[in-house]
């Protein structure tokens, strides 16, 4: 395949891999990037919201030519039962700024653009190449990778594993465990195409403004799950994700859940008349800080989803991927400059940079939240949404029932469903995990 030797090999061309490859190549390192898809992005799936600050650190002027869909001016949170939603909406004209903070993107297009920037920075990008194994010496030090191309062995000082949530190479080589069913969510999603003006009128948007809805409720059938609707320029990304362990236990069909979700009276009018052009599925790391594996070893580092970097509470994944990729790239560049041999002790610099960044601080803040939500899923994702809906309806219907009686009825419904102790315990546990 390629006879020459590289400073670094990056496995994967998603957000983390592109961030790492770009960071290293633009600092003068000789970088080879391997991607198994036909083109960068062809294997990648995300909602998708992209946070500008983390990309600006890598490509400051990305707004000039990146394929961005809409900048977000409105966020809605919905709690749903089978026939209703109770919502909290936040919209601000402050989000109509020169350099907006959040954009919707379409990953296959965005990743192609990002990969183009990597090539411009000097990265050698090889697509349609699956990395099958790591090459290691007797001490276990990683020397390079083996690929499925004829004679496909390549050597480098360090291998950056940006191989995504499944992380086949790293798990097969024993660098980390296969993700556990309770630590990953299966998300399914459809792309609904509509004319831009239809999307703009349905969500009261003008120009490139965009809107996001994130939902919890009975559509996940009591499983720990989240629904989402993102407005792109001429499409709507609609989907839902639930924990794999919950799916295995309930044996629900994600395909059927998505169909029911689409038929919900609060959602159906938003996608009416659309043409579905793609159905995608992907795993999302949801275990948080406690599931983060060993991050480096002799001759290797792991970044992005493969390192389980995802903030489930704030729905941040690709920005953590970009940040971890960039920090790995910066660490490797600094080590290269001092001719360090890229041992585990040297590469700990990457861990130090992560610890100093928002990434580890945020993940540590929420370290107990995944376990809480994952073990009380029926309460948080089914009982409470249903109770809130019935409380709202009791509150709003004017039917001659005295208000005091209505209030008592609502309080009684909560107590009957969860008991006083259960309500207090849920509140306390949530507050503790949030701290």
């Amino acid at each position: 395949m390629i006879e020459e030797r590289f400073d670094a090999i990056v496995v994967g061309a998603g957000m983390a891999g592109n961030a790492a490859a770009h960071t290293m190549a633009s600092r003068g390192l000789k970088v080879l990037q391997l991607e198994r898809g036909e083109y960068p992005g062809s294997k990648n799936v995300q909602g998708a919201i992209m946070y500008a600050s983390m990309l600006e650190e890598i490509i400051p002027d990305f707004r000039d030519d990146a394929p961005l869909e809409r900048h977000l001016v409105e966020q809605r949170f919905w709690m749903m039962d089978d026939r209703s939603h109770t919502g909290m909406h936040y919209r601000s004209d402050d989000f109509n700024e020169d350099r907006p903070n959040r954009y919707t993107i379409v990953r296959a297009q965005f990743d192609r653009w990002f990969s183009g920037k990597c090539r411009e920075a000097g990265v050698t990008v090889l697509t349609e190449t699956t990395v099958t194994d790591l090459i290691r010496d007797d001490s276990g030090r990683v020397l390079g990778v083996r690929t499925d191309r004829a004679g496909g062995v390549v050597f480098a000082d360090v291998v950056v594993l940006a191989e995504g949530v499944n992380g086949l190479v790293g798990t097969r080589c024993g660098l980390r465990e296969t993700p556990k069913p309770k630590s990953v969510a299966l998300a399914v999603k459809e792309m609904h195409f509509l004319p831009p003006e239809v999307i703009e009128s349905r969500f009261a948007l003008k120009g490139d403004e965009g809107c996001v809805i994130e939902m919890v409720g009975s559509f996940s059938r009591g499983m720990t799950g989240l629904g989402f609707l993102y407005t792109n320029r001429e499409s709507i990304s609609l989907g839902l994700g639930c924990l794999v362990s919950d799916y295995a236990e309930t044996r629900e069909s994600p395909h059927a859940l998505l169909e029911n979700f689409k038929a919900h009276p609060s959602i159906a009018p938003l996608i009416a008349g659309s043409e579905v052009r793609e159905y995608a599925a992907h795993l999302i790391p949801e275990g948080g800080w406690r599931e983060i594996p060993q991050l480096c070893g002799d001759g290797w580092v792991v970044v992005g989803d493969a390192a389980h970097f995802n903030n489930a509470v704030h729905r941040e994944g690709s920005n953590l991927a970009m940040t971890s990729g960039r920090l790995a790239g910066e660490a490797i560049h600094r080590l290269k400059a001092t001719r360090s041999p890229m041992t585990r002790a040297d590469l700990k610099l990457y861990e130090t940079l992560l610890e100093e960044s928002f990434l580890m601080k945020d993940l540590r803040k929420y370290k107990d939240l995944p376990a809480l939500l994952h073990t009380n899923s029926r309460n948080f994702f089914l009982s409470y949404p249903e109770l809130v809906s019935s409380a709202m309806q009791t509150w709003l219907r004017v039917d001659g029932t005295p208000k005091l009686e209505k209030e008592k009825k609502t309080v009684r419904s909560f107590v009957e469903k969860r008991s006083r102790l259960g309500l207090v315990a849920d509140a306390v546990k949530l507050a503790m995990a949030w701290r």
Binding site: R36, G37, E38, G41, S42, K43, N44, V45, Q46, A48, V106, R107, A108, Q109, D111, T127, E128, T129, T130, T147, D148, R149, V165, N166, L168, T178, P179, K180, P181, V184, L186, V188, E190, M191, S235, V244, Y247, A248, R251, E252, S253, P254, H255, A256, E259, N260, A263, V276, R277, E278, Y279, A280, A281, H282, L283
Partner: protein, 97 residues
């Protein structure tokens, strides 16, 4: 599931795939009685690649696979299935992702 649920084939038809003929990337170990996890795949797989045959064994046809990895997470640790990425360039090719 309601009667109006469209068939999964109609949904997957909109996706782009490059199938590697004769080289399925997922294989199931021959078995007499499938484990509960393996049976779960017949409903949990988002592409409905897994079916139970009339002898009660679970089979896989990974042509419509979206490479999410759910079946791997559930059944690879027990050795019941073998899961690899398709050869470079093959498999699902997302147009939008």
């Amino acid at each position: 599931m309601t009667a109006s649920t469209p068939r999964i084939a109609d949904k997957l038809y909109r996706n782009r795939y490059l199938v590697d003929p004769g080289r399925p990337h997922i294989k199931v170990r021959p078995h007499v009685t499938p484990s509960p996890e393996l049976v779960a795949l017949t409903t949990v797989c988002p592409a409905e690649c897994w079916q139970m045959n009339d002898r009660g064994q679970v089979e896989v046809t990974p042509d419509g696979c979206m490479e999410c990895g759910t079946c791997r997470i559930l059944c690879e640790p027990s050795g019941e299935i073998e899961w690899n990425y398709p050869r470079g360039g093959y498999g699902v090719l997302f147009k939008f992702g």
